[in-house]
Amino acid sequence: MHSIIESVNLYKNFGRIVALDGLEVRVPRGVSGLIGPNGSGKTTFIHILIGLVKPDRGEAYVLGYNSIKDSLKIRSRVGVLLEDERFPGNLTVYEYLRHVIKVKNGDRREVMEILKELGLDRYLDRKIKTLSAGMFKMLGLAQALIGEPELVILDEPTANLDPIKRRKLLEYIRRISKENDISFLISSHVLPELEEICSWIVFIYRGKAIDQDYLKNLYAKYSSNIYEIMSNNPRLLVEYFKNIGNIDIVEVRGNRLIIRVKSFNELSSILSKLLSNTSIQIYYFKPIGGLREVFNLAIKKFY
């Protein structure tokens, strides 16, 4: 596999806080997702990739360039939308983007098309400080797409967007990735969105990459024989499953349990015994296999 992003043994501490703890990541061409809870090191990793932060140890490469030595070359080929991006509020959208076009050697006509797609063309004369949070995101995305980048890194691109704009944005990303052969690395908490558009997924947890592979391989690896069970007494059910020992409890969500078993036959025999021998009632059980469950299983397996 040819990687466009690669990190080797990355370490980064902010005082006593360990942000990255030997992070090893590979990302191929295409649309890839970076998944991890808050504080797992996703944003620090993105900052290291574009040279905003220097790692304490280890190296990162983007499009074959070293993130420290060649950060300027990286930033001329990579568009970035940062999570908490801020813009100079005293400028209008047009004034700001005019400078960005000059700095990134962008083409005005191409930029106007991008602005039209993102719905920003109507706001060109507006001061940036008067834009809504959603339009702020769109401005950041437009900035990232200017100058025909080979790779676009998006940190929480759908935060602050309403469902319609989210859908439009995801469709737009999918389309330009195919049409213009642009690769994307998207960091997001909204896993169903990543599930829709990403082909490669990297799981980050506590500064480590706990797994990374093509989405279909991850499903095959983790999500077979995962079931959701709803009962009247989840606490008793957890204890019952723990006593049996063959069942892997992935997550408890209210009165629903996410469990992993070796086979469906095993589960049905366990449940029939449970129903006849205990007072626990099972309202339903169904197979599931979302990215969220896959991520939880990956964490469980790693630790």
Partner: protein
């Protein structure tokens, strides 16, 4: 070709940063404050020194000009410090620096352009006010006098900007930095040992010697004023530059 590209990119970044930092209202405020104070100092000097200003010769004109530059330099240093601190702390604290450095702008270019962008407008306003006064109020300014003035004002400006930049980068807090800098710049008036970094003494000593207004001032004294300011400025600017290159922007 690479030189042409690098000049073009520097101009682009300077104009980008100027657009961000120099709000039209802030620019006008700067022009009004610096120009008014600079010109006001001439008026007070002319009335106190010689009421028949139009009759005085080159030497007297230069003397008045030196006094006015020395007097107005206090307000100039104050405004320059405020501008510099606000520019740095604003881009650092509001996250704009992170956004700009995610674009293809190197830290070196950003640092140089920001320094240029901070000092050029006040420097031009201060200098042109004095050139205007020299030409239209005192009816005298020669090219030699002017060149010396430009160099000294440039040196003083960069000295102030370098201290303000270093402090802003280290502290990253506008209010604390401003208070600290105000105390740093008022220290020379409290301690005679620090007279070399006092802006008024700097202009008065250096211009007195260079414009040959008083022959008895030793050469070494003028050199000390310029030399200490220059070496301190270079050292502090270099430290700020290295710190800016190494700092994490998170």
């Amino acid at each position: 070709m690479p030189l042409k590209n690098s000049i073009k990119s520097t101009i682009n970044v300077v104009s980008f940063e100027a657009n961000i930092a120099w709000d039209r209202s802030i620019l006008w405020l700067n022009i009004i404050l610096i120009a008014t104070f600079s010109l006001f100092c001439y008026k007070s000097q002319l009335y106190s020194e010689n009421p028949y200003s139009s009759d005085i010769g080159r030497r007297e004109n230069l003397y008045v000009m030196k006094e006015a530059i020395g007097l107005s330099s206090n307000i100039y240093v104050l405004i320059l410090t405020i501008t510099c601190v606000l520019t740095w702390t604003r881009i650092l604290n509001r996250g704009i620096l992170k956004t700009l450095l995610s674009l293809p702008i190197s830290r070196k270019t950003f640092f140089i352009c920001n320094i240029l962008n901070i000092f050029i407008p006040p420097f031009i306003i201060f200098l042109s006010s004095h050139i205007f006064a020299g030409t239209y109020i005192l009816n005298h300014i020669s090219v030699n006098d002017l060149l010396l003035l430009v160099l000294l004002v440039l040196l003083q400006t960069l000295f102030t900007v370098s201290i303000a930049t270093f402090t802003s980068l280290i502290l990253k807090n506008g209010i604390i930095t401003l208070f600290l800098l105000l105390s740093i710049f008022t220290l020379p008036s409290q301690f005679p040992e620090l007279k070399y970094i006092d802006s008024r003494s700097f202009y008065e000593k250096a211009l007195t010697y260079m414009w040959s207004l008083e022959r008895h001032i030793p050469y070494i004294d003028a050199i000390k004023f310029i030399g200490i300011t220059l070496s301190l400025m270079l050292l502090i600017l270099m430290l700020s530059y290295i710190y800016f290159l190494k700092m994490d922007i998170d």
